[in-house]
Amino acid sequence: MADHALLPRLDDVLANRSWLRRDRPFRHFVARDVFTPDFAASLAAQLGEILGRGLSDVPAQGRFSRGMKGYDAYGIGITEDLPAPLSLFISAPWRDLMCGLFGVEKTPYVFAGAHHHAPWGANGFIHNDFNPVWFPRAADAEEIRIPDMALCDFKTGAGSLPDAGKVETVRGAVILYYLLNDGWRPGDGGETGLFHQVTDRHEAAAVRCPPIDNSIVAFECTPQSFHAYLANRGRARTSIIMWVHRGVAEAAERHGADRIEKWR
């Protein structure tokens, strides 16, 4: 497990305590200058070192790799062997912040990673992230658990674990933190688009969240939380993404079991 004792207190690294809540096209939060300059720089340095190992077009341990079906990006998971500061995103305090912000049931189950879009990347598909995710069952409520594909597939639950050893959850809320995009200007693309309908055209995004360094966009994952990556032009785009997960019962009660988006 990552040594979370090495993580600073959120109070000490959160520079912006005024996140802006908007309700259109669905409830979301945006904020700039989120972390202190030093902490933001340390995140960028750690992720920049990983980026510097090179991009792989096939799954490759410890490197940004292609592997997300239908998504023109390289990704890497934030795992328990990664030290601070990146481990902040799979820490209990960060989980608590996300659950508290959205009133989502607090569970041990989180998933974080980083995405990197090379220049001239394509639009992502419009989707709501209201998906089921399987985890190895946590030993107790205080533990933090991330997916483990070696034990059970996060999309299907298939694997070596018995039924009692795994748990199905539903994505509860998501946050994107932008970094390593220095010099971004309007017109460069690479924003996160928020949409009214899944059938909207990418050009018709109701809100375009720019990938400005040290800024975030966050929202609860619901049947209406339609969003997509918007194509970038001559500039790469990098972000950290983190989800908290809720129980299936809570997701069903709030939004309807029939609205949970099965993986395709």
Binding site: R17, S18, W19, L20, R21, R22, R24, A31, G100, L101
Partner: protein
């Protein structure tokens, strides 16, 4: 003390966002923007402390009034002015900051295609907004306008004063030169309404000129009795 009502266009742009953040406590800002929402508390948006979501946040006390509008629509300026008067009963300061910056060669099809909307937004809209404000409010009491130092600030550019060659600024430069010239005429024609009209013409901001310097120049007009003045901000020599 009642805050002065400032109608600001281009509120989601670089200048507009900075002006809102800096001046929301001192002015009742009516923030007119097109499709990009502003990043500040409004009647529809509020700040939340992510570590204490149930607690209040001080910046919400200075929420601005946001109007999403297409100023190029035939009724765009009239609608924005009418909604401002309906909400706050007056306009003390009109800041015309909405602008397009299409740069390209004068013979390029995209430059020629951009001509109508660029001139419409950069030149015609400031004229129309001031005219609408005059008709909807300022004509009622010129003496009161003069007492209250009501005024218009047009955000022009040094591109309207100087030629920066080979940057594709021809059309943009012409629009800003037009806006500067119109400022002088507006100052003359609005004199009898008791309303002053001035302009700030900065060089590239942020970058060569600080955004705060542009805001300072706009606010300076709010505290003065000048009219027909163009404050040119070239930047450090």
């Amino acid at each position: 003390m009642t805050r002065r009502v400032c109608l600001l266009t281009g509120a989601s742009g670089t200048f507009g966002q900075a002006f809102v953040r800096r001046c929301a406590a001192d002015y009742q800002i009516v923030a007119a923007h097109h499709t990009t929402p502003i990043e500040y508390a409004t009647q529809d948006q509020s700040f939340v402390d992510p570590l204490r979501p149930e607690a209040g946040v001080a910046e919400n006390e200075d929420a601005v009034y946001s109007i999403a509008a297409d100023l190029l629509a035939p009724d765009g300026p009239a609608r924005v002015v009418a909604e401002t008067i309906r909400a706050f009963g007056r306009i003390d300061m009109l800041v015309n900051a909405a602008a397009r910056r299409d740069w390209g060669p004068l013979t390029a099809p995209e430059s020629l295609d951009a001509l109508p909307d660029l001139f419409a937004l950069n030149v015609f809209v400031p004229v129309r907004l001031a005219a609408e404000a005059a008709d909807a409010y300022w004509r009622r009491d010129p003496a009161d306008n003069a007492r209250e130092l009501r005024h218009v600030v047009n955000l022009s550019s040094t591109a309207g004063h100087y030629v920066y060659p080979d940057l594709g600024q021809g059309v943009y430069s012409a629009s800003k030169a037009a806006l500067t010239q119109l400022t002088y005429h507006q100052a003359s024609e609005f004199w009898n309404l008791g309303v002053r009209v001035n302009a700030v013409a900065p060089n590239t901001f942020p970058g060569i000129v600080g955004v705060d310097d542009v805001i300072d120049a706009v606010l300076a007009f709010d505290k003065s009795e000048e009219t027909g003045t163009i404050t040119v901000l070239v930047g450090p020599s």
